[in-house]
Subunit: 439 residues, 2 copies
């Protein structure tokens, strides 16, 4: 049986997971692919550091350059994470014509355009199934399974930490901080949780999926992101009463141009807490699970669901890339499918200000006559339509919540109106404003 | 741009759908693949018959042999359905070394082993994404995305007609026959609905998925199938009260051997109405949608959801196969991935008699003292454990329903016990016995 000799760069959770999965299922993978996958070297930062998965010490090394340049190593597997050394590792391998498998979403999000161009230039390939929604083969499905479709809508629950927090807040009636504290104690959330809970992680993934779907590279700073810190138990309860579940949702939508001068459609790429109707399948995606809902113009609505992160889900995706890389190596094909296909039809990102959506708005107001009239007047002047107003019962005291459901409105109009409303003396706290998705 | 010249065999719903999808998205597909897909000929049975999608008459022909043998045609796309002529078409193409794309589950289910062997022998490939769950790229996901996994469990809602009927029965409190009649009037169900509602269609698909997952060919007669004709409004209501939804579920499970002499695990492949817990994601798959739930030993639980049939969903899958076939042709690779990989680890099908499951049982009994005792005695003698008994209120008259929830029991023990119970004078109708899946 032919052998592919691998150099793993990274021996932590993900690297260890891949090593372990190859130990467990390497024989099966060989039966299915006709290839033996041999890990010749595992590059780590510190030889002495305890590892989540034991790796024989004779495989360990600290010099990534020696491994990448080793002529015996045919395939470089970058699992170290980060965007500094990892970028050098991937660049070097591609420059010497070696295919690379990576699980690094931060790297692709920041430098994908550069790296895919480099792979093309050196006639080699960059495989990245594990970079987005680990256990869900969304990259393969978008690039291959749905290749005949224009992707008009893509919605993703892409951050397991946020989904875990929102699920527990909903099911157990807890506040954000309570769940976050516990998640940190249990190791489900990072000590610095900002990357997750402020939406940046989901935004990186959304950018990669949007780039793939629409064929032009979307930079991380073009993805508008807001996180779940401002979501309270109250919002989850009110949303529930209205028939919605709050999810941190990534949205990639092709916004068709109007009849005016702008003939090109734009792409909305954003991540924000969002009210999802309870009867939509995404509302049932709970705990750490991820899901990607894709609407193609031929296939209609599809959904993929699975674990988005963690040692094993990520390892499964890396194994899939190893198989693809092996097939390409065997066939002498440097890239069966180019790693990134530019088709550029819908160039142009819709600015956040121009995003149009219905909204849920929660205000904290003084409970006295005339309050509603003042707020409604300001919304009316801004030409923002109210579809319903709810003054929940059971709230006593000087400050009470007041919920508005708003018809389709531009984001810019909403933020301007909320700012004006915030200056009213009867309003006691910044407005909580959450878009509603009708799918 | 290089061109792939296609011969379409079949110009009905599916063939027309593929023709239309290529008209609509051919340019996009070319940008993404680097290939122009050119339909040179469409073979139909009757030139005069009205077609769901108009196809220019100069493309139409009736002689499939001339098209398959035409040296200009590089790829044969079999979309005619059935297992007689279609088998000749596919065999002939493979025998002369031409790759084939097919959407024909009946053909693969009956002759898959023969056809895959023929493809291997003639160093060509058979692509079949559209054969199971059209809009869901489950073939690609199983063969490539989850290639590093042992598939321990696979559950599928694979028949849109049955799911549509069961969904409407549940949501609208209708009886089976009412919904079927309407579905037939609307064209959602065939005039002869047996293939769908008796579970044969789902069984064919389950057999293909099981063969793929476990690496040995499962013949259609090895898949035990029962359909939804016996399901009543009452069963759906009682199941709902107990926290379950009834779905026609395909189950492919690796059953680990006991500690006895039988060291090889067996594969359970069956299709039957099944009680699915309401909090399981499969319970929310409604109307004509299909879903496949896959548990891999590395990836954990994943789900794919989409339209399983229909012109457009099927066309999307065929386009994906066209792209794969074009890549393989360009790369001079007859089969990047062998169409069917034998890995044979778990050879052996679990007989239906040996399937073990909890059960829901509905009996129709005479409402008089001693009835329950007689039935419970027979179950006790058969060593079948009762987890609960429900005598629903509000049923008056001589015959009333009596519901048992049964602990894990062998299928053979259950059918024997039900037959004995059926002979009791207090029992007035055959038992309805539905397995419960706990996932």
């Amino acid at each position: 049986m032919e052998q592919v000799t691998l150099g793993l760069v990274g021996g932590g959770t993900v690297g260890g997971g891949v090593f372990q999965a190859l130990e467990r299922n390497g024989a099966l993978l060989s039966l299915r692919t006709g290839y033996k996958f041999h890990v010749a070297k595992v590059v780590v930062r510190d030889l002495k550091k305890p590892r989540p998965v034991p790796i024989p010490s004779e495989l360990l090394g600290t010099d990534w350059r020696a491994v990448v340049d080793d002529p015996a190593i045919k395939l470089v597997v970058e699992l170290m994470g980060g965007t500094s050394t990892a970028r050098h590792v991937v660049r070097r391998a591609l420059e010497i014509g070696k295919p690379v498998v990576t699980a690094n979403k931060a790297l692709l999000s920041a430098y994908g355009e550069e790296l895919f161009a480099l792979a093309r230039k050196h006639q080699t390939n960059l495989y990245y199934e594990a970079s987005v929604a680990g256990g869900i083969p969304i990259i393969k499905v978008l690039r291959e399974g749905l290749i005949g479709n224009r992707i008009t809508h893509l919605y993703g629950i892409l951050n397991g930490t946020c989904n875990y927090i929102l699920t527990r807040m909903k099911l157990e009636g807890l506040e954000f901080q309570e769940v976050l504290d516990e998640a940190q104690r249990l190791g489900y959330a990072e000590a610095d949780p900002s990357l997750d809970i402020d939406g940046h992680d989901a935004a990186q993934k959304a950018g990669i999926l949007a780039s793939l779907a629409h064929g032009f590279w979307i930079r991380p700073e073009q993805v508008s992101a807001s996180g779940i810190r401002t979501i309270t138990k109250l919002d989850i309860q009110f949303a529930g009463q209205l028939g919605y579940t709050i999810k941190l949702l990534a949205k990639v939508k092709q916004i068709d141009p109007g009849t005016g001068a702008n003939v090109r459609s734009k792409i909305q790429v954003s991540v924000s807490p969002t009210l999802v109707p309870n009867d939509h399948v995404l509302a049932s995606v709970n705990h750490v699970f991820n899901a990607v809902f894709v609407r193609g113009d031929v296939v209609g609505d599809t959904l993929l669901y699975g674990r988005g992160a963690g040692q094993d889900a990520t390892a499964s995706a890396v194994l899939s890339d190893l198989a693809d890389a092996a097939f390409d190596l065997r066939n002498g094909v440097q890239s069966r499918i180019p790693p990134f296909v530019s088709h550029e039809r819908n160039r142009g990102i819709l600015p956040l200000a121009d995003e149009v959506s219905p909204y849920y708005v929660r205000l904290t107001v003084i409970d006295k006559p005339g309050t509603l009239a003042k707020i409604a007047t300001l919304l009316g002047r801004a030409k923002i339509g109210i579809s319903s107003v709810i003054q929940p019962e059971g709230h006593v005291g000087e400050s009470v919540p007041l919920i508005f459901m708003i018809h389709d409105a531009r984001h810019a109009s909403m933020t301007r109106a909320m700012s004006q409303i915030g200056r009213l003396s009867v309003v006691r706290a910044p407005a909580v404003m959450i878009p509603v998705e009708q799918f």
